[in-house]
Amino acid sequence: MASLAANSVLVSVQNLHKHYGDVAALRGISFDILQGEVFGLLGPNGAGKTTTIEIIEGLRQPDSGSVRVCGLDPAQQSMALKERIGAQLQSTVLPDKMRVDEALHLFASFYKHSASVHLLLQQFGLADKRHTFFENLSGGQKQRLALALALVNDPELVLLDEPTVGLDPQLRREIYSLIEHFRGERRTVLLTTHYIEEAERLCDRVAIMDRGQLVALGTPRELIARSSHGTRLEVHLAKPVGLDRLKRVEGVIDCQETDGAYSLHAQPPAATMAALIRFLQSDDNALLDLHIAQPSLEDVFVEMTGRRMEH
């Protein structure tokens, strides 16, 4: 891996626009990715994440705006750039009768500098599947092979487009471990996802996208701290109570009711809990159950866009 100075900008995206016919896929997005960080593009389907990553990979041309990746222009210096980046597609398809090690050796041979296929097989848990045909691999094994293929040239920048989409929770956790391993290697990673948990767990910084625009950018902690929703109290009560009365409780910013459970956004949480108990005693009601939840990126997304993220 070639080294750049710590915190130097590896990817710079400025005012990117892209249309598909009449549909605006990107409407002026800008962000930088720093050397060594795991950067996430979070957003629902159709937000423009894949278009963005494909422009960075040099597979698509923007209508306007500028992109620099590893100091190169992806549109003009595509071949040089491909030597320095590794990419994993949303779904990787290889010929059915291609063996795992053949695929790795073949793709490694395309690059001037390549990683050890033996080490990649070990690292991605594919050593005992090295002679297996692609058609006989499970979904998780195919995804691990796709990730290994993204690393065959020992890239400076790894681009992962929805790496866990369609995988069950167990396989998803396996992929998370591998991406955390990348972070351990101080490898720069750009990851697109529509899973909140994935972005919160894996990314150093997250850009939240919606309808071709960047609606928020920062570390998950910063974004959550910026949220005005505050801590959420989820309570079950002995008797129903009107939402308008609950909203009048000291510290409650907002509240919703779903199947008899009440979700209260509280600030500050401790004082709000004390006020809530006093309110229930005066109302001859009782608290059956209480959960305290911190605000999430989902809350940030709802706050920014006015709607929930569709999974």
Partner: protein, 466 residues
Amino acid sequence: MPTLRIALLTIRLVMRTKLALFFTFIFPLVFLFVYAVLIARGQPDVVAYMFGPVVTLNIMGSSFWGLGRQSVTQREQGSLRRYRLAPIGPGAMLLSNLLANYLLELPTVGLLLFAALVFFHMPMKIGWGTLLVLVTVGTFAFAGFGLTISSVANTMQEAQIYNNLVWFTLLFLSGVTFPLPMLPRWIQRLAMFFPSTYLVSAFQGVMAHADPLRDHAPEMLALVTSGVFGLLFAMKLFRWEKEERISTTAKLWSGVFVLPFLVMGLWMNTRVNPTAMWARSYNVIGQASAPSPSPEAGKANLIEDFDGVQASEELLSRWRVSTDSDVSGHSMAEISLLTPGAEGTRHAMRLQGHLTPGPKNAQGYVSARCEIRVPADSRGLRGFEFEVRGEPRVCQVGLQPPKAAASSIPAISFVPGETWQDVRLPIAWLANPAKNGLADGPWVLEISVTGPPGQFALDLDEIRFY
């Protein structure tokens, strides 16, 4: 080298797929046995004649249904996307497919050749190098077809339609399944526009008559040119993603791919007319299937072998020369005795001179004619034939029946080569001339040479009924 690596892996993938193995190696052998047993009836010379169509069929099949489909399938399945992320371009992908197709073609032709030599004792009249050149040029030309179709087809269904359209046209109208001399004249003219016609006729000329490859240089050039056009088009129109659609304008542009064949077809139709060459190759079937004539029978059917002629002057008692002087031309011709004749005979006749067309004509004209009589018993005869060689100018041979009212027999055109060739003129009436009232009077055999101004020479020998 990415191209070679992808090609070698592609071959390995084919070897792992039973269906692909069957269609690559076994299916062509099935065709060879069908052609050799049912059509050639195991006769070695006819098997040599049929070998070309079998190889052409195989080359066409692997290009249309192998190479052409492969590119579309890779694009539709999405496997090209993975390659797109690597530092390789469309050229490497296309060349690797082309190379894999070629490297698979060679052992297939080797198997066909082995089977033809071992099981049918096919005479091998040419060197391995000549065969390799023919297979290479043919594979390259039809790869151009396959790649062009895969480039312009947006979906597999579309590719199937284009493939079927071209496949069946070439299959039935270019000598691959039915020998062209069997087909009507207008189909023969149409066939001159098809590439498979040239590959088949080159194979047949080379395999059945040991023609030197240079005799088929224009056809080879047209095949190579179209292969280059196809490759360039495929590179220009290459698409990695199935979502990328090709515009109608680009599809129309790809029609330029057929330009070399259009030019070739026009040139062949107007200037060369290879029908005599096809007929010469096709004669192999008739000669092989007919019983060997006895020496007496051969003598009885002989019209002229010039062996009894002592001097050139004697020829003038039987042959008459005419020129284009009646249309203001100044062409000149003379006939002379030539020693030795064709295939070891003593003499042959030479017609030579200079073509000088008149001011209103682009082409000069000379002819030599003589009267002949049909043998008393002409049952079983199908036409007449002669040995010919000379400069590559368009010549015609015709036979005028004794009755002016009778329908004339169509003349055939031919272009002589440097070596002696057999030319045949089939005559349906010959089987029963008495019935047609044609047995008594003399017939007039006329051989003519036409063309632009310049010298010419034409040697004739062994004129006989067959």
